[in-house]
Symmetry: C3
Subunit: 509 residues, 3 copies
Amino acid sequence: MLRTRAFWQLQFIHQPDSILNMGNCIQGVKDFFCRPKNTNVRVSLPMVCFVWQIAMIILFGVFIRYDEESDTHWSEHRKSHNISSDIENDFYFRYPSFQDVHVMIFVGFGFLMTFLKKYSFGAVGFNFLIAAFGIQWALLMQGWFHSLDHTDGKIKIGVESLINADFCVAGCLIAYGAVLGKVSPVQLLVMTLFGVTLFAVEEFIILTVIHARDAGGSMVIHTFGGYYGLAISWVLYRPHLDQSKRLQGSVYHSDVFAMIGTLFLWMFWPSFNSAITDHGDGQHRAAINTYLALASTVLTTVAISSVFQKKGKLDMVHIQNATLAGGVAVGTAAEFLLTPYGSLIVGFCCGILSTFGYLYISPFMEKRLKIQDTCGVHNLHAMPGVIGGIVGAITAAAASESTYGHEGLINTFDFEGDFKDRTPNIQGGHQAAGICVAIVFGIGGGVLVGIILRLPIWGDPADDNCFDDEVYWELPEDEESIPPILEYNNHMSNKQQEMSESNFSVEQS
Amino acid sequence: MLRTRAFWQLQFIHQPDSILNMGNCIQGVKDFFCRPKNTNVRVSLPMVCFVWQIAMIILFGVFIRYDEESDTHWSEHRKSHNISSDIENDFYFRYPSFQDVHVMIFVGFGFLMTFLKKYSFGAVGFNFLIAAFGIQWALLMQGWFHSLDHTDGKIKIGVESLINADFCVAGCLIAYGAVLGKVSPVQLLVMTLFGVTLFAVEEFIILTVIHARDAGGSMVIHTFGGYYGLAISWVLYRPHLDQSKRLQGSVYHSDVFAMIGTLFLWMFWPSFNSAITDHGDGQHRAAINTYLALASTVLTTVAISSVFQKKGKLDMVHIQNATLAGGVAVGTAAEFLLTPYGSLIVGFCCGILSTFGYLYISPFMEKRLKIQDTCGVHNLHAMPGVIGGIVGAITAAAASESTYGHEGLINTFDFEGDFKDRTPNIQGGHQAAGICVAIVFGIGGGVLVGIILRLPIWGDPADDNCFDDEVYWELPEDEESIPPILEYNNHMSNKQQEMSESNFSVEQS
Amino acid sequence: MLRTRAFWQLQFIHQPDSILNMGNCIQGVKDFFCRPKNTNVRVSLPMVCFVWQIAMIILFGVFIRYDEESDTHWSEHRKSHNISSDIENDFYFRYPSFQDVHVMIFVGFGFLMTFLKKYSFGAVGFNFLIAAFGIQWALLMQGWFHSLDHTDGKIKIGVESLINADFCVAGCLIAYGAVLGKVSPVQLLVMTLFGVTLFAVEEFIILTVIHARDAGGSMVIHTFGGYYGLAISWVLYRPHLDQSKRLQGSVYHSDVFAMIGTLFLWMFWPSFNSAITDHGDGQHRAAINTYLALASTVLTTVAISSVFQKKGKLDMVHIQNATLAGGVAVGTAAEFLLTPYGSLIVGFCCGILSTFGYLYISPFMEKRLKIQDTCGVHNLHAMPGVIGGIVGAITAAAASESTYGHEGLINTFDFEGDFKDRTPNIQGGHQAAGICVAIVFGIGGGVLVGIILRLPIWGDPADDNCFDDEVYWELPEDEESIPPILEYNNHMSNKQQEMSESNFSVEQS
């Protein structure tokens, strides 16, 4: 009740009924919004899945084709382009990185969110569902914006498109982290539909129009994804979420599962940041920088986690999350000459900041800003993403021909075509502009999508029913814990019966 | 008792004792078959492991050598073949895909089967054992049939041989899924020995004699493996398996473990289907097609799973298994010009069919056909494998020089040497013939091997002892769950004693 | 008390107080050493992390730069060195193997050690911490010894440096296995600091001075790491460790977690052994040999595990550990012409030996040699490492131009520059010398570091507090297991009350 009233106030607070003269109408709408929660998704979920998948098939039929390197005409293409060997097919430059990114999306993000004691199915299962839908929609959206072949109106896809689709989905999975346990699968699919759409537009503006560089997506993926999720979470604020408090923690084994996610994200982050950078030195350098930044983050995360707990005990939440912040924060600058010690410094600062975020900023945001951020995406993605954007802008602005070499500078920043007159200084400014675009799209888009998600038709759980797999999953009966007790009860009641009988007999005698 | 009598009837029903005049003999054999189950494998398991491993060493010593690309003469070979760089060694074309396939075999299949509440050790451990044996035997068997160097009578192995060995083992691991929890490790090793042998022959017939194409092994691996397992399970039918019903379900954490298997299979399936396709565009295209088919399958699996449960709740069994069917079903056609939307359509249909399989076909098979299929391999491998074969046949028949290009058509279907006059139409027919061969070998081989596995010497568990790691594993004492109860009992009995004493005293007073 | 006295005796046994005339002083020192254990690391852990990480940043700033293949001048370098394509950047030769090694370090070693019932956080978390520190320190130490550019005094790093850093850390993680659960994170960091330093020196002596070959690090990594850990464990001997006996076993799910580690180590070991071998045939051959040795090990491990247990049941400890011994033991010889059957034989023997180790040698070492080896690193690393060194020495000594080819021999053993006159025979002797160096550094270094770690300032746990995450981690409350019991108790006591009341009433009536 309170929840919907709060929403109501948000919408109509400056519009007194007398002026609008639509009291009855509002009452009707109010009733509509105040219906008790119905988490039955038996119609909506299958329908959305079917209709959207059919739409995908039709759109793929109309638009999507293989690119030259994945087509059977490749051998002719090879000869005409004087490519000496099959090994120069882009597949061999990018496929290993692609698979690493793929693991991050499905196992990394999926298992990172299994930390809740009774939401592991939802974490890994819904992550699976929305990623599977998102990559298809992303291939289309990104294709229309980036790789539409204007001669035949078709989108040509290859391994780089698959990586970009995975990247795009990463933004939506980050947003999922903020609303984990509080939304229905249908809401998640809607969130993904709009998220991918917004992502493609935002990416087009940042990378193509502004011509900012963002290899690992600090701005494009993490800043956007983080604020998108936080804005949705803000609109969907649940004042009575403490009714689900019993399920908001972890258990021992769920924390170990989450470490699987953490480690696969941590290990493969160098592939993430280098996956679509320039062949050769670009990929090489991006991997090295990310490797170093991440290593540095682990140490400062441990330090801050320990120093702020009694007896210096470590908190698993920090180890699971803040250790990854360094990877986010070198995303933009990873392909630049950030230098190895520069990477370490970025990681150093982000480990501290991110852990602080978990200790102080998240509780503050929940209490004061009414943003309930289940996984702390603000500390792991949004904030480090902005830092990454700033680091990128500074590194770009500081670039010079003397350090990069003439050709190196042009290659690294792609100062070609329309942008051949751009200088590093100007590039730095454009990088900074990119951060703003990402934030604006994230918050703006999130608020809009959040309002759509408040419609009471999506089957989201009630406040006392959050973080519970019971709502959307057939759960196995946990025989392990129950039977001993039951058995015992039977056993005991027999004993007691005997006992009381014996008591009787004693008394009777 | 019933189980062995059923078998007996199967064997001897048409041979009345009077005719054979060997009643006594049969009685002796009957006694032999009706002995109570003895699951002690302390002699048989070590013996089989030792003897077979020693045989492998001898056979490897006689037959197996490094191929030219893994031999120290490679640099001379390189020069004489005008290969410009070490990077053109087949290792760099295939090793990343090989490692992905390797992960699917050991972690993918292994963890997918950990879903049972008390059979995780057996799932992941026996999977490990039989795969480790199988890859050695497969190198020999496939070597004899495919890569025997007739100048010196040696088998030359390289990274592609390792992938093929992993593929071969995949067939046996699929079969393991059908009998999971109902057989002993010795039976599994026997099953693998024969399975690999049958596989190599079947593969030789399909790929070399018939000259069908089957990049991802829809026919060769999945159809064969699925029916092989189902036929074995049929012969080993256990009428009283419901005595182990308490252990046939999952628990919460075992389902999360199984998701590790699902996801690693799902993510790396594009590598599986592209691992041994042609360098360049072939690998590239196979990976894209598989990626898309799998994405599509996830959505229809969720849809069907939700629509057939009360309240639209999802069933973990479907998410764990049916989501993979799309990868199976594009196995054959992945390297063809299936087109991106064609892949989506195949995935779409298979998600639906496979989930239906789990809902209706599996229970039907268990009740009517007496096939107990623990992991539902019929729905995940056998049926999608056949579909994959059909899709491959149609796609091949529909191929034309106008879409593939002259060279592309020859490369894709390998219309060279003896087969240089083959047309796509004829190829389509041969693809269809391949499906039949796979089914025949699967069912025929499975029945034969099943009969061998009925011999009462393999140490398989009794009907009330299935799905239980206790039988073949030293289990840790689960102190967590037991002591509180024990403690409590002690505590209670003390209390009761006190109580009854106090009763006494009350009475006496 | 006993523990510190034992140490005391070790140090001062030959120095009677009367001679030294410093009784009071000794008493003071004794008191210092006998203080009750204080596991509070709130000051020491953050301080060590911060100070060391800052030191890393400074040292990286002074010394570490990108190498030519990861620098923006690569395209100029390419042209001047006549490299035809970006694909010949070392990144594409080594990156897939690097990522596999990375997974082994963080997931493989981390999860392998999660088998203890209440030390999973420590296993995977501290593994994460020390590996993240170790790789940074290793880049510096190995850089100073191996890749210092003498023209500008800088260390140039590329993907091969990252692999070597991961290798170096592997040595320390092996050592962690021996002391798992008995040391504080600060001790682990100290152990890693010295371990990496010793490793770099030892590696320099073995690979550069002696010019032994050791592709997979049987000597350099496994022998050194194993003995380093065992020596530390010997110095840190805890006579009353049985006070923590209740926590020294596994539970069902923790064993399944450990299998994740086992399998990722097992699967990626071919990448480990081939990661830094020669481009082309070297990497190819090393991968094949390791693949085969590991397969063979699994069968003999199962055989021995089964034959020594009652009823032939398998022991998870063996499956988790001994199955990996084959990979260790082909480490040195993997790049040589070990031949496929040679690899099988090595794996065969190591599976047997390593399992025997777990059955008999480890208990013997604990009782007689006072070495408490939590993970059995002696059986998995130290012993197979020595065998690997011996196999390498024999294989090298047996090499000849007739089998390797003239060029092949030179390439494989790097008989160039100062070593161009070396013969295989002499090389064999030098390989053997390498084993001795590794053992000496392991034991010597371990004893020294062990003595440092006995200082009572590191926050290590008391004997009755080992193997417990409670000491260094904020643990989630395991609601699952506790409430039913509590609930039950309440319920029962009510019942009893009622019962005794009813008894009373019966009596009274």
